[in-house]
Symmetry: D2
Subunit: 327 residues, 4 copies
């Protein structure tokens, strides 16, 4: 699909097309407003844009409160070098049921929906249309678009509308001539998706007091209880872990790497110290970035783990070595 040339320094890639939840996440990024937004088909393309400097950053989904971690994202972040997470953004998962104008709810038999969207609206669909059938779609927007008559450059799946309705994000009607048959059809009203904005490796941003640090680490082979030992690196520095997910390394069943989110910033002394400990412990550890938390909640630390405690301890150690009392 040819696109007009755009300035990579002001281009943001996202899983499109317009109307997706990913676009809603990108709308939360102040510095992206008024810039070029480049719609891509999957996480791999989005990150490739960043690596190849076709865009300055890419917005990608990393976790859903119902469905869990987005494996493709976690694996891509583990495997693609040169990336850093710049920020995280939360988008409530809210679905509408849309159809071609003139369709009523009673007409709906076949529902087009991305499998994840279908899983999150199935209870509602089973109540509203007990005899419906599910036609899987490749994305939330594609599900809706497929309801419309095919156009010339249609892809291989565009053989005319197969479904009567589609599960889609609320913003879909801003872009396509569809009618909303029902709103807020998500089975869990608190469902939310967490996105991360990913750029190229660069100097870390300053700490804000409300930060998160993401890492991916493997365990040493030669040691039972390795996971426990790895988690001690955080516990002994008073660092809370908000995410721990295992992902297969891929070379054999039973070998995992761990995706970890920590409260705090690499420039916080306790986090830096824990990263040093982790680096010594893990045969393969990757720093994905320190960035402001989406909820802007301040990270609180007891005095024994705050920056002052680290600075004072270093001063004390230096004095001891120099032969000053230190006590």
């Amino acid at each position: 699909m040819p696109e007009p040339a755009s300035d990579p320094a002001t281009t943001y890639s996202y899983l499109g097309p317009a109307g997706t939840f990913t676009e809603a996440a990108l709308k939360q990024v102040p510095e992206a407003q008024g810039k070029t937004w480049r719609s891509v088909n999957n996480v791999g393309e989005a990150l490739a844009d960043v690596v190849a400097e076709r865009s300055v950053a890419a917005m990608i989904a990393i976790e859903n409160s119902i469905d869990g971690g987005v494996s493709a994202t976690q694996d891509a972040l583990a495997n693609v070098p040169g990336l850093r997470i710049l920020g995280e953004y939360l988008v409530p998962v809210d679905f509408v049921l849309v159809a071609r104008p003139g369709t009523t709810l009673d007409d709906v038999r076949v529902v087009n929906a991305h499998p994840v969207a279908y899983a999150q609206t199935r209870l509602w669909l089973e109540r509203a249309r007990p005899d419906h059938e599910h036609l899987p779609a490749t994305s939330n927007v594609a599900a809706a678009v497929a309801l419309l008559p095919a156009v010339d450059d249609a892809g291989p799946g565009s053989v005319g509308p197969l479904a009567d309705a589609a599960v889609a994000p609320p913003g879909i009607t801003d872009h396509y001539p569809l009618e909303v048959l029902a709103r807020s059809i998500g089975d869990n009203p608190n469902a939310v998706t967490r996105f991360v904005l990913v750029g190229r490796t660069g100097a870390v941003p300053p700490a804000t007091g409300s930060d998160k640090t993401s890492i991916i680490a493997e365990l040493p082979d030669d040691r039972a209880g390795g996971l426990l030992d790895m988690l001690e690196q955080f516990a002994t520095r008073g660092i809370n872990m908000s995410l721990l997910q295992s992902r297969p390394i891929g070379d054999a069943l039973g070998r995992y790497r761990f995706v970890i989110d920590l409260d705090g910033h690499i420039l916080d002394e306790r986090v830096a110290d824990a990263l040093l400990g982790l680096k010594r412990f893990s045969p393969n550890v990757k720093f994905l970035g320190s960035y402001p938390r989406a909820d802007r909640e301040q990270v609180t630390v007891v005095p024994r783990y705050d920056n002052t405690a680290f600075v004072e301890a270093r001063d004390w150690l230096r004095a001891l070595v120099a032969g000053e009392p230190g006590d």
Copy 2:
């Protein structure tokens, strides 16, 4: 799809149709041979069959060495009561590229494939057919079947062949008139999928010396470092953990339950003791079963954690309380 009535006591459900990897797993179960095999569309249906006593057990995929845990299975096991895992089975992930008779590899532009299968063959496809397009399918067999001319009771997706070839399991040609264009097209030759056979809750089978125990547990809210404390329950009893996966509980972002596989059997003293510790610790712990390991490897334990150590310790404690020396 109406089926002939079958005896639930001798019926096994599996993700069909014939030719899937799940069927290959079921072929490994001696007691299922010569019985009725009931093909279903997804994990939910398979487990519902077991709960409703339409079948005696269901074979479902739980983990893939490349793709990780099967979320739908893990979540269903967490949420559906009354189930027990009876055994685990490994199936190598081996794919063929199939087409209608007469098609050559050079003819292939659109490839139908389940997204997971596509992810595991993409490198091969990109090398062999750099300009191919991916048409997602709902299952590995559906991808192949969709190549064939539609039949009368076709479902909503059966609008005639949209793809030129399909990624499918090797057994597919036993069931359908398709030709193999290429064999062993998986990107990782060691890829393997782990399946579990799930039945209804019943008395646990005897320990074999090569057993695995599966549980799902939540962490207490009121306590930092909860995961570390939970893992200590296993470490202090010398129990190795072969799987630890977090899954969202679903009520809020950041709340997880953990799917855990332990080496050993609930009738092994150290495992029973760890389960007692876990039950006291966790506000919600679910025992999914103790069952023979697929690899039949013996679980080795140092003497301090073997059954004798537990029995001797209890005898000692009883003596102490009764006022005998104990030393």
Copy 3:
């Protein structure tokens, strides 16, 4: 020193003679009042009386708030079989300076004092009599008695008064014709000695809700971090440790056993469970007894560690094994 025959079933041994802190501890034992009190010379004799059934129990000092654990007691409890601690008692450490009638403080140059008593009054003595000299005595009472003229059956040390004054417990003037030159001369007004009443092994007394359990345990040789692992046995059951003291095993430098006091009673589920864990872990563990705390403070436990949690967990496990849901 021949003594009148006494009924062993009603005899209590203690480090005498009359007037010692040990006698003050024995005065706190209701069941010992009005019985025969047998004065002995050291911990070894006191415990030998109990083992040989010359007395029903012995009162011995085990720890001083200033001076620490009493090594002789800790080692004797480790090495003498067949004993149990029945209770603990606290005696404030309060000293007087006594002299023969007619002596004034200004006359005092040589002060007789047991080394521990001297250590606890030295600051006072240095202020009051800067040029005094210390004559060591074998016990607090012996220091005072040595001020008096020798009698016929005098032991080898009784060669006439060598000292001008003695540091002694306040009760000394009830028994000997001495004058108090100064009261409360202890350097630390909060100093206290902890005593234990030790009897023969018998059925453990019922739990009172304010109990302590004493054990002595060795670490396994084959394992780094052994102490940490041993302490985990208590931590994972929510058990507080009020004492941890290392004592040399005696066979080589660097080999230690640990004297440990735990909050709780062997009949408390969590303590019983920790003792089982400890028995499996330690190559040599000795249970010294569960008995009421001297301070009668209730031991509080969070619900996850109380008896109910243990009983419920066992019921749950039993149900799981039997094939009941358990969830």
Copy 4:
């Protein structure tokens, strides 16, 4: 006891008089040979000499393989500021029974002995002289000296020989006209005493690869399981602990500080890092010194804890912060 003035820069204090085990330890110090050796009466005096710069260092006993830690030494090191341990020395504990010339073993009824020496020879004495009595002495040499006729400037205890024999170190006959009645009368042939040479605070000596680091630390009050957390500081850095002893802080029963010996040197990265962690954790930590081990055994470390691992981790962290890949 007036002494000739000596040069403090070349004076060594030790628990005398000549002939003690402490003197034997001082004989092992190459740099002390040919210098002035100042005999003092107790640990307090020895350390006071160092603090007041009356001597360059003092040799003091810190631990005995049978009797355990020397409380007076441990408490003095905790409380006296400005000191550093410079080295450790092992002296086998070997005793002789000495008497005035002409005495035979059969003549011996009263045995003069320091209580610790008596405890370590009692079994032999009970076998050889079942009806002997013990007269306590203030030191091993004093026990022997007291056998000799009193001289003019006799102290308060010098009222003529009260005992028939004395337990003393083998070197005693080099200094006093006494006869050996029996050799090697110690109950444990492997008994050994560990001494430390203590000087004033100064720059730490270089690491030798066979070093020990001594510290004293208190636990924070506000935290259950504090000891476990403190020990984790060493375990997570792969540091072995060769000594852990609790000593009462002295302000209340149940409040302890811990005397700890670690394998390694403060200039070893892992030890420095653990000290930093300990300093942050403990409300009161005192560094007593890093010095060569008496046994000259090399400290072995797995690669994950060696200096290189620490340096590499710091380089990695610095690169991450600067925006270099680090992976």
